[in-house]
Amino acid sequence: MSEQSPSAAHDFIGKEYAAGFVTDVEQETIPPGLDEAVITEISRRKNEPDWLLEWRLQAYQRWLDMPEPTWAKVDYEPIDYQAISYFAAPTGDKPKSLDEVDPELLRTYEKLGIPLHEQEVLAGVERDPNTPRVAVDAIFDSVSLTTTFKEELQEHGVIYCSFGEAVENHPELVQKYLGTVVPPSDNFYAALNSAVFSDGSFVYVPKGVRCPMELLSYFRINAQNTGQFERTLIIADEGSYASYLEGCTAPMRDENQLHAAVVELVALEDASIKYSTVQNWYPGDEEGKGGIYNFVTKRGLCRGARSHISWTQVETGSAITWKYPSVILRGDNSVGEFYSVAITNNHQQADTGSKMTHIGRNTSSTIISKGISAGNSSNAYRGRVRMNPGAKQARNFTQCDSLLIGSKCAAHTFPTIESQRSDAIVEHEATTSKVSEDQLFLCRQRGIDAEKAVAMIVNGFCKEVLRELPMEFAVEASKLLEVSLEGAVG
């Protein structure tokens, strides 16, 4: 291995979009186009059992009948689903160990600061016995390259592997839970994902186990004209706990690329799942050319009593973000949380928020959303809090704050409350503020340059959300905020 790692952190957070390089590896792709034959071919390449192929084909039939949603406050040219390739993977058999992984791929992760060797740590994080260790699942286009710490996790009974391996080795778990939180018919993109999904991560934490390390899935889009359709399923059995992180980047390209993921979380009685995302897909250039369309369905089910699901997201990338991590609070006394920072600059568009559906008694949810818009961008919060008839004494607190930088950007909030209970407590607070000339002048007069000043103000604005992130991610996230806002002032 080279000695490059310490500087990798700098590469990652460097000026402009540092993760925008292309890795030159031989890839096998399925040619663009989508029909039953393509789906059958994806399933064959992944050696899937018949039931899963059947499941995919049914989803495909559903998808054909579904209209593309248009209600979000985003604007883009129609996507030609026949022009996309639905599968790309480095050629050759799946490597059995890191020694078999193409060195070019290893270098890619080094550059990104993602450790694929167990003795390494995340770039930017100090090696310290108190720092929790991180197991990594590295997903490159449609396949997982490797998952670290698998054996050690296995000793605790924790399964952490690629989705494909889970289908192979734990089909009973996959079959039991797949689609139980986000059914294929849920929405247009979920149906598409169900038909063509490639790799993603799978986590199972057995009863009473506290997962001994953070689990990080790192998604990398590399191939051109290819969509990424990851599928992630996390199950926390009774009384267990897991903290899962995901990060994502893609090369800079002039065409838009589609990323349509589905993530399902299941928390059984007394279980707790903490899911953190730092989304840094390529956002497109200053003129709005290129960038990822990030159309994602993420939902957690608090199935058991006293279960707890918490989403934290820092969304800095993508040309368009369409994403509503949600929680269904079915178990009595269950808790759902959503903490979000969404930042848009230049011509980025984000329509994001959360849905909290209260079914069980005494359920409570919290939504804290911080939207930051700069440049010509548009940033919308969309949320829905629903109290079903059985949700006795359910509570929700929602706070959405918008911060505007400059005068050409826009912020919108679309909160919906549907309560069928008179004893429900629903609180909603919303604010909109601006980074003012006066604030910048004060900072600059004290010697702080404008970009640093904006970063400081934005970090202050998001503090409540950033502190929900695991330490490894918090540092990177606040630096990413700074990079995303480059050119937002002056």
Partner: protein, 249 residues
């Protein structure tokens, strides 16, 4: 050493001519007071010195620390040693006073090629200054100027002044809105700051500040120019007779 020199300075704000030819020199070791009626251009002068967007020099020259300021950005002027105390200190929600001060002092140190200040030394120094200004340490954890009383905001400006140790401090009505005790605290801060190495310009409406701070010169500004300069005695004259008869106004 000349810290500030204005020669025939005229300036406009958003195309409106406000300053109409100002000559002023501030040398190291001097304290000047500028007095003048509302709207005479005192705060405009402060913004012009700071290099704020929208404020344009139309004629004349400004030299800071012996060099013309032409083309210097707001932060460059700050880093050469210009400090502006604001008439209306602005709030920055979400950013604690402590963070703000740390980033500010580090920006100064980095520009001098020094390392960032060690957190412990920083804390010790900031606590010490706060104590001298009779500000509780609780105050450092609060967001910059958010919910501060008028007097606290002004003391916070002096806190920044004492921490950053600029060469030239231009304090715009730092004495306005202060009760008698707070006025003495602020005056003490200014007196502790002043030295043979630096200079101070106090913009004030009240002679009472000059009971606590000895000034070398008093200038009367009316309609964007200095119509009369003198010593501390001039402030007493203004206090008793007002500005009538002093300017062409």
């Amino acid at each position: 050493m000349k810290l500030l020199e204005l020669r025939g300075l005229a300036a406009s704000v958003d195309e409106k001519q406000i300053l109409n030819g100002i000559d002023l020199t501030v040398n190291a070791g001097e304290v000047h007071a500028i007095m003048g009626p509302n709207g005479s251009g005192k705060s405009t002068l402060s913004n012009i010195l700071g290099g704020r967007d929208g404020y344009t020099v139309t004629e004349g020259e400004i030299e800071l620390m012996g060099a013309p300021v032409n083309g210097m950005s707001v932060e460059e002027r700050a880093l050469t040693g210009l400090f502006l105390g604001f008439q209306h200190p602005i709030e920055i929600p979400g950013v604690t006073n402590m963070e703000f001060l740390k980033v500010a002092i580090d920006s100064h140190r980095i520009s001098l090629g020094e390392e960032e200040m060690n957190t412990r030394d920083f804390m010790v120094q900031v606590r010490d200054i706060s104590k001298r200004l009779e500000l509780s340490t609780e105050f450092l954890k609060r967001f910059v100027n958010v919910g501060f009383s008028g007097g606290e905001k002004k003391r916070n400006e002096i806190l920044q002044l004492m921490l950053l140790q600029p060469r030239l401090a231009f304090l715009d009505e730092t004495d306005s809105g202060l009760d008698v005790d707070a006025l003495q605290v602020v005056a003490r801060g200014i007196n502790e700051f002043r030295s043979d190495e630096n200079g101070v310009v106090l913009v004030t409406h009240y002679q009472r500040l000059l009971n606590y701070v000895n000034v070398d010169f008093v200038h009367i500004m009316i309609n964007g120019t200095i119509v009369k300069s003198g010593d501390a005695q001039l402030a007493h004259e203004v206090e008793t007779h007002g500005y009538t008869g002093l300017g062409e106004a």
